[in-house]
Amino acid sequence: MPIKILAGSSQHQLYKVITWSLFALLVAGVAFAYVDVGSISLGENNYNISLIRLNKAIAFAIAILGLQVVAGFTGQLALGQSFFFGMGAYASAWLMADHDWPFLLTFIVVVPLCFVIGIVMGLPALRIQGLYLALVTLGFAAVFPAIVKLDRLFSITNGVGGKATGPDGRKYKLEPPEWLPLDGIAETLQKIPLLGGYFGDGGISSKQEERMWAFMMFTLIAVVCFWMVANLIKSRQGRAMRAVRDNPTGAAVSGIDLARTKAMSFGIASALGGVGGAVYVAEVGLASPDDFTQLLAINFIVGLVVGGVGTLSGAVVGGLVIALVPDWASSTQEVGFLPERWLQGPTGSLILGLLLILLTFFLPGGIVSAARTLKNKIVRIIPRGPNGEVPGGASLATPVTADDTPDEPDSPVDELVGAVD
């Protein structure tokens, strides 16, 4: 029997506060516990969960969030996300290395740049639909490395060698601010009985501080992105997007501007791809052309599907999966029944491919839908009716009178979307 919580009640507020604080604690805990190389041992194998990998996962999660907007919520198969990921990475690296911009400031350029190019490249997509759009966008994704390697762009992209984020091919340093007592926090955490051992011992070096700060900053960027997209999905624009996905003709008849809605979703998705790329390059320190091939675009699709198409939390799960699975697959040295040869090649890609196929069959909603089913067995949030009335026993006791008829929704599509979700 699940605990039932009424949406908007004080218990619901408390529930939200508790879950968010747990999340914040988790982030901080992970930052301090895994700053070097945390690992899980299974048999003979060590699986690393250092911040380096988690930072990549955050970058991927933001890019997959963009895919969620365009493919998950608007239903457009614009699958070439690696193109914008790469563009964001290069733009950010170029600004940091050649123009001495601080990392956070580069978003002022990266976001509008990717947004505009996303819309421009999306314009043909207003006529091209479904499968064909998938073809064209994957084609663009395949072309990106060739564009970056062009001789004419050498001064910006540094050709085959890749563009470093700092001057003279070094990595851009993300200095933690003076006011943040990371050292002190680490010391306090180490004093916690029983758990203290997980947080290492002794003070933390400047390199570790840098890494921790990067992780926290990237998490914050990701939270802002997710928060904005969550609000977008709930807004009028978001409802229009879902209407376009569920029934384009119906949406158009209800007065939704299909072209505008689609173009917006392309722009937002591309901007998110760019943000993800900027985070990625800040972590890796080098934008190298062959990191951004159509294989990366396909990996993003794997992340989209594995997490769950049309869910925001699915993007996080997807980011973790595509960052960690290939890495863990290559660090697996021994699995009882498998011959060694199978563990030395691109085993990670094989697993991702199999995941893609198996999930489409057995769990079309992705991991998130399974997790939600589980969660509903423990805690269930009961939504209120359109007028704020309480559903269930209470509302059944007082029958709805003629005065109580709900307000007219904004448009029939809103109603339809409400019913679908």
């Binding site: 043909p124 006529r127 395949a142 030395q344 691109p346 085993t347 991702l352």
Partner: protein, 297 residues
């Protein structure tokens, strides 16, 4: 002038191999209105099977290619039955995802089994030049590649137009529901389409890597697939001869237009193909020889 003729010959050689893979795409598109993203990887797998048969079993080259075509055909028929048929053909997202999963899976599997180091592929055609004119030379490879494509498409036309299963295939591709009503077994017919496509794709990959300048490795078909997709779209996604015309046109763009037009850098042959793909879909979605899609709204 001699350089131009040389480039023309290159265009023919490249274009006809693209056409073979494009024909495979067209066959699947005709059957299921689906573009099989894994087609290139299936073809690459076929080329590896050929290599294994020829080197490790000592089977003569052409027989090995033929056997590989059959093996891949059976494999693709199995893939269709298990992975494709359970889904609604009108809903593209799951099918795109499945074929992308196949793409990743087959590519990784080949990488695990055969590794990524390039292998030389035995020549299928006599080496040397059929014809030389100054510095321009027409290789026998080019001649036989073009012939192979012509014969393949000719045979496919015969198969589709003169046999019972071909008739069933055409019926299904023109109207799936009606053909079901008149008693055609739709499932096996589509399966036949997949098998045929995989076989033709295998031939395409074998011919492509049989060029002495190329070597076989698991990612060889990544680029070819994009050229083939543009070729198929340009020729009209449901026309076999269109695939040939599209293939030659894309080959010509790659070998002729890109070197001669000053503002397109040489490395952008692939980009030119993608732009052609986009323009075709924008301006004339049915391609040059395809049937325009008609729908009742």
């Amino acid at each position: 002038m001699q350089l131009f003729v040389q480039r023309l010959f290159d265009a023919l050689a490249n274009g006809s191999t693209y056409a073979l893979v494009a024909v495979a795409l067209v066959l699947i598109f005709k059957a299921t209105t689906l573009v099989n993203f894994a087609q290139g990887e299936l073809a690459m797998l076929g080329a590896f099977v050929t290599l294994v048969l020829a080197y490790e079993q000592g089977i003569p080259m052409w027989l090995a290619v033929f056997l590989a075509m059959i093996i891949l055909g059976v494999f693709a028929a199995g893939v269709e039955r298990v992975l494709i048929r359970p889904f609604d053909p009108a809903d593209h997202l799951p099918l795109v995802i499945i074929t992308l999963g196949l793409f990743l899976g087959i590519n990784a599997m080949a990488g695990i089994v055969w590794r990524f180091d390039p292998r030389s592929f035995p020549e299928l055609f006599p080496s040397g030049n059929a014809f030389t004119w100054g510095s321009a030379s027409l290789r026998w490879y080019t001649v036989f590649t073009v012939l192979t494509v012509l014969v393949t498409i000719g045979l496919l036309q015969l198969l589709l137009n003169k046999t019972k299963i071909g008739l069933a295939f055409r019926a299904v591709s023109s109207n799936l529901e009606s053909s079901e009503l008149v008693g055609i077994r739709v499932g096996p017919t589509l399966q036949f389409g997949w098998a045929l496509a995989a076989a033709v794709g295998t031939l395409g990959a074998a011919v492509y890597v049989a060029d002495p300048f190329r070597q076989l490795e698991p990612s060889i078909m990544l680029r070819v697939l994009i050229f083939a997709v543009s070729a198929a779209a340009l020729g009209g996604l449901d026309s076999l001869w269109g695939a040939l015309a599209g293939g030659i046109a894309i080959g010509a763009i790659q070998s002729l237009v890109v070197p001669y037009v000053p503002f397109i850098p040489n490395e952008l042959g692939l980009a030119a193909a993608v732009v052609v793909l986009m323009l075709v879909l924008l301006v004339r979605p049915a391609g040059l020889f395809g049937t325009p899609a008609v729908s009742r709204v």
